[in-house]
């Protein structure tokens, strides 16, 4: 460094002004400029994201693990609810109101009685089981253990099996059927249905509350992690604003960073849930053979997709919150 005037280093390459246009006819501050393609920006942003993750891997770890915890819990919860749901639906399919007819019921009345049953709300269909059929069924079930041949006559009543559209309707339908003329008694799987529905309801409500809290806290943690990143880079953001970077230009690298963190966290969680479910289902089948468990293929594809999308969304939202807070300040 020496005193002015500075001698030019290479006489042949006199430095020109950066732009040839003379200053005097300067245009006004332009309202809008046509930008280049989105691909160009995406490349700029991805480069920034990579640099930042490399510069501050620990921050990323904090965000990634919180997203992972959220999506992991959500994943197991969804698996549980989906199975309880299918279980109760399965049972509901078997659940029906049985109307045992009084002794004076005549078989010719069956058509008319079917019609009056169908008029009741929530009734989907009926099936007439004559006393003879019932007797045959009973005999088959008992097999050779007890012989019914000694009976002088068939003691079983004629019956209707009434299918309802929803387990919740069982109570109402049974009550109405009992009041119909010619009905001796009604019967249905009241207790099992009730308990299962109640359990499912409780799991859902508790799960929703837990998930809501979890979602909020994850958002908080992610946005705080990104806020630390933003804070660590506030000078940088100030510089960006100083050289005329638009808000969205500053925002995008942070959002992509959040999305990347959310994606990684959720993908790890989805993998854990996926592997665990595939391991557990065969074991459960062995232990409780008749338990209707959903096959991995019925749940996992949707679940994985959902978890990963949620992770990305949480990451993006968390970043957006903290960057905006800084930009507006």
């Amino acid at each position: 460094m020496s005193h002015p005037p500075r001698p030019e280093k290479s006489p042949g390459r006199t430095p020109e002004p950066p732009e040839a246009s003379p200053k005097t006819g300067q245009e006004r501050i332009p309202r809008r400029r046509r930008g280049p393609s989105g691909g160009y920006y995406l490349e700029c942003f991805l480069r920034e994201v990579l640099i930042n993750i490399r510069r501050n891997p620990l921050m990323s770890v904090a965000s990634i693990s919180t997203v992972m915890v959220l999506t992991l819990i959500l994943g197991f919860f969804v698996v549980l609810v989906a199975n309880l749901d299918s279980l109760s639906r399965e049972l509901a399919g078997e659940m029906q109101v049985k109307a045992y007819m009084s002794a004076d019921f005549q078989r010719e009345e069956a058509g008319a009685f079917h019609a009056s049953l169908m008029k009741i709300e929530h009734v989907e269909g009926t099936h007439f089981v004559s006393k003879d059929t019932a007797f045959k069924r009973l005999r088959e079930r008992l097999g050779s253990r007890i012989t019914l041949d000694d009976l002088s006559h068939n003691p079983l009543p004629d019956a209707f099996e009434i299918r309802v559209d929803h387990p919740k309707a069982l109570d109402v339908v049974a009550e109405k059927v009992a009041r119909l003329p010619g009905v001796g008694s009604v019967d249905y799987g009241r207790d099992v249905a009730r308990k299962l529905m109640a359990l499912n309801q409780v799991v859902r409500v508790v799960g929703m509350v837990i998930l809501g809290l979890l979602f909020a806290s994850t958002l908080l943690i992610v946005s705080n992690t990104i806020r630390l990143t933003v804070f660590a880079r506030r000078k940088e953001i100030d510089i960006m604003q100083l050289v005329g970077a638009a808000d969205w230009f500053i925002r995008w690298p942070f959002i992509l960073e959040g999305v990347a963190q959310g994606l990684v966290g959720a993908a790890m969680a989805a993998t854990v849930v996926d592997v665990a479910y595939r391991l557990v289902v065969p074991q459960l089948h062995k232990t409780v053979p008749f338990l209707p468990i959903l096959a991995p293929g019925e749940v996992l594809p949707f679940l994985n997709l959902g978890l990963v999308s949620l992770g990305c969304a949480v990451g993006a939202l968390g970043s957006l919150i903290s960057v905006n807070r800084h930009l507006k300040a």
Partner: protein, 246 residues
């Protein structure tokens, strides 16, 4: 320099009160012509930086209006501010370069944010770095450059979008005398190309040698406006200026 009647910066009845109650500027009236070179002097806390911040709209004035190139910037929408900043280059005592980017990338960044055509970027950046004699060290990180060199990179960045105005807030505050003269020489060169240059400084010798218009501030008030001025210490109860360098 060409002092025209065509104003590039206008301030009318400008005052600025910070949220904490400090009256940083009071009733400032100022007209700066296109292509002028001005010094802004005054004791610490007299409002030099605050005045500059109003020009690149870091702050809004409490009362009054600021016009840049005939356009009122005080009622400008938030989304318009980046466009304003691309027409105003700013450099500071502490250089404010992005530490993880090379000299080249720092300058290029100011172009990228404008969405400049990608093919033009290397050519323009090289041109700007050549102007400040930093072409050879374009690949270095700021940490690998001297203060004077960092400031020259900052100037290249400030000039990359071909601004109307270059604001320099104590550009030589952290530099030794040689580097300071170096920077001043570059600023003169920039001014000779037609850019309006406003320099806030405590460097008396610099002001005296350059023989430019001098604005003297004292406690938020514009005390003197001297054409071809000398450094005039403002009448103030505060201790005399601490002269840096020189």
């Amino acid at each position: 320099m060409l002092e025209t009647d065509d104003p590039i910066i206008e301030m009318h009845h400008l005052s600025l009160v910070y949220p904490n109650g400090v009256r940083a500027l009071q009733d400032i009236d100022l007209v700066v012509g296109k292509g002028e070179f001005l010094f802004l002097v005054g004791h610490t806390g007299s409002g030099k930086s605050s005045l500059m911040k109003l020009i690149y709209r870091e702050h809004d004035p409490t009362t009054g209006a600021v016009f840049v190139d005939g356009q009122e910037i005080t009622d400008m929408k938030r989304s318009q501010i980046p466009l304003l900043r691309r027409r105003i280059g700013v450099i500071f005592q502490d250089f404010r370069l992005l530490s993880h980017k090379t000299a080249f990338e720092n300058v290029a960044y100011a172009l990228e944010v404008t969405g400049a055509s990608r093919a033009d970027i290397p050519r323009k950046v090289t041109k700007a770095l050549t102007l400040v004699n930093m072409r050879e060290k374009a690949g270095r990180l700021p940490g690998e450059l001297s203060g004077g060199e960092q400031q020259r990179v900052a100037i290249a960045r400030a000039l990359i979008n071909d601004p109307l105005i270059l604001l320099a807030d104590e550009p030589t505050g952290n530099l030794d005398p040689d580097s300071s003269w170096d920077i001043m020489q570059i600023l003169s060169k920039v001014n000779a190309r037609g850019t309006t240059v406003l320099v806030a400084t405590h460097n008396q010798q610099m002001v005296d040698v350059m023989q430019k218009r001098v604005l003297v501030m004292d406690r938020g008030v514009m005390l003197h406006d001297l054409q071809r001025g000398q450094y005039v210490p403002a009448a103030s109860s505060r201790p005399a200026l601490v002269l840096e360098g020189v």
